[in-house]
């Protein structure tokens, strides 16, 4: 992502280098994984949950790592030439490497939860790769479909693996693989199996989940080459092979996998014949070949597993090379439609030859690797494995699918490379691509040939290592040679070859012009069903649920919140048999009662007046705030009283500033109070009263209960000895729970910034654009008297209080510093000091107006906030350097001349940070709001000029 360069060379070289280094490292590890040895690495992650970052490399994982890294490397080389200049190439390679890493994670995981995490990562990174050309709708849809299907599958897999871990009692892969008998006899075996198979079948695009794979071909061709050969779809069959020692051998395993595999094998091959898109043909062929592998794994016999693993290798090599060849054809001609392509052999002889060899391998022609594994498949198909109709039909299905695959391979070659020269291609005369674009195909085709001709010498030992690590002691004797005599599998191969060729020549003319997709089944698309379901669930059902259950109005939502909250409080009390205590009125202090009598009147008055008399309501609210403040003083909470008093001042000013922008509302605006409105009010009143009664009972119960011996005593006893302060509340804030306070001030800062950001874009409603009424009267007063200048009255307004406020400025600053300094030992501290200082600033604004104040003092609230936050954090980090946990405070008393003994705890520095941030945030909020009146003047001028221009 960092490589923001237009050139494709650097990122691709970097990616190739990464892939190649991984390949070299993997290859070098080979001696340690032969003969069933395993290379392990373990890092504890959350051992309490049995989740460890453990990696294990055995022969099978090694084989897959080589495939992933090797083909990944070749694809990066190829992509360097395939991607065009306009594409965001660095993004491509970073997604690509992420995908490769996730796939490696799957094959190397030694913990099944970790495996599931990597599994999800491949789904996500493949989504990003498929949707790489995100301006194309097909790419977006294909990517979404792939993510939906494989994501659901991944979720099922996670459930299955959790069940499996539950059965075995460990998430460690080795332990799970070793307890096959326990798993198979467990009651949860079938659910676990079904969920795991769902995960594997969706990933491997097996019927009925196969349809996402052809839609994923909207991805860039290098991605398809990688997706279809070594990764993604292979992850599913890898998983099946990996877990086969633990899960296979039962009738459920055989039946589910066998049915899915056989159907996929046949349907994929049949559909592939009728594709008009080159990549579509290859995609369906992949589906069919994976069906073959799944079928083999379903049989559960050791020899079938050998064949499956061998075919995974072979399929990867020829399918990657075929996709790359298709990419070259697309690149050179500008189309992948087989109805338009023909006779390309004379333009691309070299590529054509390579593609022909690779498709011969796909068709299973002798002397190529595809033939060998296909022979093994035929041999296994003949054997009897289970008493089931599936097993009986398998030889016939295998031969038929073989014939189909011959037909589509032949079609691919014959249509594209032979016949007359193509006419009206989107691009001019095609020619051979650059040397390095062909290199990956060459290498893969050479591997096909070597493996095909001398299997025992070339691939034998590696295959053996892989097979031993999967099957262990059950590893069968098998022979990797081309000639096994004139036996039944060979006859089946010959029938398939001849039948396939015949089929193609019969269908040739039909295929040259037909629509995309097989006849009759053309309309039946999994894709369409999928989309129908998607629309149904995510649109219609969601809409219905919204209409039935949801509302966009705030009032019902809040009503539900209140009622639910009340019920949530009531229910546990009800269940635990709560009985409200009898009220005791004796011993009530008359003054306290009198104060609260006023408080209650004010509360009710506020509620009553808030609609029409906003200012009155605000003043009453301030009155309640003062009474709360008195209560805090009364009940031994001086710190709270100070803070409450200061916050009350600031809040009142804040809301006063806001009042100006609200619409005027005069009483009795709506005479027509309907019955429904009355009903609503009555209902809300009822809810409110019930809530209030509930709160009264609960508070009374809480207050009259004996206070349990909680953590209070710990703080009281240790505040001085450990925190170095006598004011325990402050010590808790800056020392014991300093981290919480750090979080709080961060929130405060964020809120202030949000307020500031919101107000920058603030547009007042038209009716509040006028000058406030009071200022209009004052201005008129000036105009009517010739001896007065405009603005005099505004300036002289509240003259004496203004002067006093201005003079108080230094006094309040000193007071703020005093509160801050004494905070550790006496009521005070950073919060209250910060509020005090911001009130000092606020008073200057009130006294002289915004302009006057800003001409004289420059306040940079953002800097105050920044410095405060940094200071608090740095104080905390400082403790690290002394070897203590974050925010450990250090203290001692210093003697300062004139002042005397001063507590100098590092907590004071932290409190200073709190102080600075509180000042900055409060001032930022208030000033931003106050500035709106100035902005409005400017807006008014602009509007006026506009009006004049018109």
């Amino acid at each position: 992502m960092l490589l923001n360069t237009a050139s494709a060379a650097l990122p691709s070289r970097l990616a190739s280098l990464v892939a190649f280094s991984c390949l070299v490292i993997t290859v070098l590890a080979y001696p340690q994984v032969t003969d069933g040895n395993v290379l392990r690495y373990n890092l504890e992650w959350i051992p309490q949950l049995g989740l460890n970052f453990s990696l294990r490399l055995d022969g099978f994982a090694w084989m897959f790592s080589v495939l992933i890294n090797g083909i990944g490397f070749l694809v990066t080389v190829y992509a360097r030439y395939y991607m065009s200049e306009e594409d965001p190439v660095p993004r491509f390679f970073s997604f690509f490497l992420a995908f490769m890493g996730a796939m490696l994670g799957i094959v190397l995981s030694g913990n099944v939860i970790l495996l599931s995490i990597f599994w999800e990562l491949t789904s996500i990174s493949s989504f990003l790769l498929i949707s790489y050309w995100n301006n194309s709708a097909a790419a977006r849809d294909g990517a979404r479909m792939a993510l939906t299907i494989t994501g659901i599958g991944g979720f099922c897999l996670l459930i299955g693996l959790l069940l499996l871990g539950n059965i075995v009692g460990s998430y460690d892969l080795d332990k799970i693989l070793a307890s096959g008998d326990l798993i198979r006899s467990h009651a949860l075996y079938v659910p676990a199996l079904v969920f795991i198979l769902l995960g594997a079948l969706t990933k491997s695009a097996q019927f009925p989940f196969h349809f996402w794979l052809p839609n994923a071909m909207a991805a860039p061709t290098p991605v398809s080459a990688f997706l279809h050969s070594a990764t993604m779809v292979k992850a599913g069959v890898f998983l099946l092979a990996r877990f086969s020692p633990a899960l296979s051998g039962t009738y459920e395993w055989f039946f589910i996998l066998g049915a899915a595999g056989i159907l996929t094998l046949l349907i994929g091959a049949f559909f592939a014949i009728f594709q008009q898109d080159l990549k579509g043909l290859l995609a369906y062929s992949t589906i069919s070949h994976l069906g073959l592998i799944t079928t083999l794994l379903s049989l559960g016999s050791p020899l079938a597993t050998v064949a499956a693993i061998f075919h995974m290798l072979n399929h990867a090599t020829f399918k990657a090379s075929l996709f790359m060849a298709a990419g070259i054809i697309d690149h050179e001609t500008g189309t992948r439609d087989m109805r338009r392509l023909s006779g390309l052999f004379r333009y691309l002889p070299y590529t054509a030859t390579l593609a022909m060899v690779a498709s011969a391998a796909m068709a299973g022609v002798p002397l190529l690797n595809g033939f060998l594994s296909k022979e093994m498949f035929f041999a296994e198909a003949i054997e009897t494995h289970a008493d089931s109709i599936l097993d009986v039909i398998l030889p016939y299905v295998a031969t038929l699918a073989g014939a189909f695959s011959v037909a589509y391979s032949l079609r691919f070659i014959h249509t594209v490379f032979f016949g007359p020269s193509p006419t009206n291609l989107p691009k001019d005369t095609p020619h051979e691509p650059s040397r390095w674009m062909r290199f990956p195909i060459e290498l893969l085709v050479v591997i096909c040939l070597i493996v095909g001709i001398a299997p025992a010498f070339s691939i034998g030992p590696f295959l053996q290592a892989a097979v031993v690590s999967v099957l262990g002691v059950d590893t069968p004797e098998y022979s990797l040679s081309i000639w096994h005599g004139f036996n039944l599998p060979l006859i089946m191969s010959l029938i398939a070859l001849a039948g396939g060729a015949a089929l193609y020549f019969v269908l040739r003319h039909y295929l040259a012009t037909c629509e995309d997709g097989p006849p009759l089944l053309r309309r039946l698309k999994g894709q369409r069903i999928f989309e129908r379901i998607l629309v149904e669930v995510s649109w219609r059902w969601a809409r219905m649920a919204e209409q039935r259950l949801g509302t966009r109005n705030l009032q019902p939502q809040l009503r539900w919140v209140v009622v639910t909250g009340f019920m949530a409080g009531l229910l546990p009390l009800w269940l635990s048999g709560f009985e409200p205590r009898a009220f005791v009125f004796s011993g009530v202090d008359k003054v306290f009662a009198g104060i609260w009598l006023i408080g209650i009147c004010l509360a009710i008055g506020t509620a009553y007046l808030a609609k029409y008399h906003r200012l009155a309501a605000l003043i009453m609210l301030g009155g309640i705030g003062l009474i709360v403040c008195i209560t805090f003083v009364w009940l031994s909470a001086p710190d709270l009283a100070i803070t409450q008093l200061l916050v009350e001042i600031v809040t009142t000013v804040l809301i006063l500033l806001g009042l100006r922008w609200l619409p005027k509302r005069t009483e009795k605006m709506d005479e027509s109070v309907t019955f429904r409105a009355r009903f609503r009010r009555f209902r809300d009143l009822l809810i409110a009263i019930i809530c209030g009664i509930g709160m009264t009972f609960i508070s009374y119960a809480v207050m009259t209960m004996p206070v349990p011996d909680a953590i209070a005593n710990y703080f009281l006893e240790n505040a001085y000895s450990e925190g170095g302060g006598r004011n325990v509340v402050n010590v808790i804030l800056v020392d014991f729970r300093g981290f919480d306070t750090l979080g709080e001030i961060a929130v405060l800062g964020i809120v202030a910034l949000t307020v500031y950001a919101l107000l920058r874009r603030f547009r007042p409603a038209p009716d509040t654009m006028l000058m406030p009424e009071q200022q209009q009267i004052q201005a008129r007063f000036d105009e009517e008297r010739p001896e007065r200048n405009a603005g005099d009255t505004v300036r002289e307004y509240l003259l004496i209080p203004s002067v006093i406020m201005q003079w108080m400025f230094p006094v309040i600053i000193t007071f703020a510093v005093y509160i801050l300094m004494r905070g550790h030992d006496l009521p005070g501290g950073g919060f209250s000091a910060g509020l005090t200082l911001s009130i000092a600033f606020l008073l200057q604004y009130l006294a002289g107006g915004t302009r006057w104040a800003e001409d004289r003092i420059r306040i940079l609230p953002l800097r105050w906030m920044g410095v405060g936050l940094i200071m608090a954090t740095v104080t905390g980090i400082g403790a690290w350097f002394l070897g203590y946990p974050f925010l450990t405070s250090h203290f001692q008393y210093l003697t300062v001349p004139l002042i005397g003994k001063v507590p100098a705890a590092t907590a004071l520095l932290f409190d200073l940070g709190v102080f600075l941030l509180v000042v900055g945030s409060t001032v930022l909020i208030l000033v931003a709001l106050a500035h709106q009146s100035i902005r409005i003047n400017r807006l008014r001028v602009i509007e006026a000029e506009k009006g004049r221009d018109d």
Partner: protein, 112 residues
Amino acid sequence: MEIILSIAIGVMTSCGVWLILRPRTYQVIIGLSLLSYAVNLFIFSTGGVKTNVPPILGEGASSSMLADPVPQALVLTAIVIGFATTALFLVVLLASRGLTGTDHVDGRGDKR
């Protein structure tokens, strides 16, 4: 003491709940302020109601008699954060009024 405080909390809760269920944004902001007084007092009161024993350690005073400092510390930050959220809500309210031209909580005027 306790009974007065409980009734006060109850009344403020009632008024607050009533106000947040009203259709005007200003009523809601005042209602939230009232609710926060009630909640702050409630949390504060969980430490027990004691007079004349502020949690400030004197020389040699018995610490176990002092008021519970934990709810006080909680409420102290709650007061400050309460101010911040009030400010945020006020600005959202004003912005909504500026954008939609109405001070109805749904920003869609009255159903008339």
